[in-house]
């Protein structure tokens, strides 16, 4: 296992670079995100014997809750902040962001770059709105309303450049088309707040959701009346779920039970692996796109872990 200490900062989100396989970003907040500064860490793997070294860090006035690398410029990454701002950074330029948007009225909890069009990203906020952005435009391109509680995650479809999904404290998953203001599908997917979801990269129309009700649920969007499968095992809220970029059967999940679990839904006993070396809530997970089985996690224990799944 490779480790890095995000000294003084509690990890909220990690993402591997889509360009450079040994590069990783971690969005974090001081004081557990209650009050205080944020910090974006840019890390490189394999540069020291036990792990990772820091290439650069960026400090922000308010806590950072999410980050997403640009899909079109290997130097750029966007962050979501507790003060409602969204900042675009060039990791070759020290100290200040290259763009700073202030439209959301509340904490921004989610940002995600479009996989296919590569020139837009979406943000989800506690102000219950989703906004679509172009990095060169001073204002958002459009705003999507409908959720009736905080939005915790917004992610583009890996198949269709115009589709994205969102999950919320209102216990629904919503599918949106950038060309229409109303959601295409609304699924009341859990009995409690939904904190995370992800798209299956190999099965069109399939998503996984993770909820405060402790379960993960797999959905086929063509049959939204009922989940395809429920994964149980986490003892407390599921904070983040992620489908493997290499398999339509592998899912990783992070939880307030301080564990990260990897599931193989094609097997009778789906729990493939339990990572229990964090000592606080685990909030971030990502799979390396180009090193199969490599998974990064970050947690409130101020640690980033990178582990290798044994196949």
């Amino acid at each position: 296992m490779l480790t890095f200490k995000t000294e003084g900062y509690n990890g909220y989100s990690v993402q591997f670079s889509p360009f450079v396989e040994h590069k990783l970003a971690c969005a974090s907040s001081a004081n557990f995100g209650l009050v205080g500064n944020g910090r974006l860490f840019i890390l490189n793997l394999g540069t020291t014997p036990n792990g990772m070294s820091m290439e650069r860090m960026f400090d922000t006035q308010d806590g950072l809750f999410d980050c997403s690398w640009s899909e079109i410029n290997e130097n750029q990454i966007v962050t979501a902040s507790g003060d409602g701002s969204i900042k675009l950074w060039d990791i070759t330029l020290a100290e200040f962001p290259i763009r700073n948007w202030k439209e959301h009225q509340r904490e921004v909890f989610s940002v995600h770059w479009n996989y296919i069009k590569k020139d837009t990203f979406v943000s989800g906020s506690w102000d219950q709105t989703i906004k679509l952005w172009h990095p060169d435009q001073p204002q958002s391109l459009s705003t999507f309303t409908g959720h009736t509680a905080c939005i915790y995650s917004t992610l583009w479809s890996p198949y269709n450049a115009d589709l994205f999904g969102s999950v919320s404290g209102d216990r629904t998953f919503r599918l949106w088309d950038t060309k229409t203001p109303k959601p295409v599908i609304v699924i009341p997917a859990h009995r409690d707040e939904i904190l995370s979801f992800d798209w299956n990269k190999y099965r069109d129309q399939t998503i996984v959701t993770g909820s405060v009700d402790t379960t993960l649920r797999i959905w086929d969007l063509r049959f939204p009346d009922r989940e395809v499968k429920t994964l149980q095992g986490h003892q407390y809220a599921v904070r983040r779920v992620k489908y493997s970029p290499h398999s339509g059967d592998i899912i990783a999940s992070a939880s307030y039970d301080m564990t990260m679990r990897v599931w193989n839904v094609a097997t009778m006993n789906p729990l493939l692996m339990l990572h229990n070396l964090h000592t606080e809530f685990v909030l971030g997970i990502d799979f390396n796109l180009y090193v199969e089985g490599q998974i990064a996690t970050c947690a409130w224990d101020e640690m980033v872990h990178v582990i290798q799944l044994v196949s």
Binding site: L34, G36, N37, L93, F96, L231, Y256, T279, L289
Partner: protein
């Protein structure tokens, strides 16, 4: 006072009726009011523990309390069985956090040189509850004056695109 009595005293302490605690708690809760419920509940539990240790008895020790609670519950909370399900109530959340913490502590009981947290949750909660803000650095609200670097790399195909 025996430890177990102290722990029971903590568990039975009427935080609801302690005006000083409630006043501080409002600040803590307000600053985290839209966090998912688990995070809120964890804040509150730790605020209670910290408050108790400052105002009622300095002798109460969090790790010992956790070990005691674990012993009393006699559960192995790191059971990896994927069949276990529980209702998600605040009390369950608190118990989970305590038992999980202690399970991990027990695994490393020999290591007294465990690296300390740079700022414990309790310290943060205490400062906020006392109306003292933890140190927050002023970051200038500026944009970078240097021109962004144009991309030099081609986007890599995603693994799922390479297969299909």
């Amino acid at each position: 006072m025996a430890h177990n009595e102290l722990f029971l005293q903590f568990e039975n302490y009427e935080f609801d009726r302690d005006e000083a605690f409630q006043k501080g708690l409002q600040t803590v809760v307000a600053s985290g009011k839209d966090k998912p419920q688990q995070e809120r509940e964890a804040f509150i539990q730790r605020a209670k523990f910290f408050y108790f240790s400052k105002t009622v008895s300095k002798k109460i020790d969090y790790d010992e309390y956790v070990a005691w609670k674990l012993d009393r519950q006699n559960v192995n909370s790191l059971d990896t069985s994927p069949t276990k399900t529980e209702a998600c109530s605040p009390q369950n959340d608190i118990d989970a956090q305590l038992t999980l913490n202690s399970s991990q502590n027990l695994e490393t009981t020999t290591s007294d040189n465990k690296p300390p947290h740079s700022r414990s949750f309790q310290e943060v909660v205490k400062m906020i509850a006392a109306g003292e803000m933890p140190p927050v650095r002023k970051i200038p609200d500026e944009l970078n004056k240097n021109p962004p670097k144009p991309p030099t790399m081609e986007p890599k195909p995603k693994p799922w695109k390479r297969v299909s």
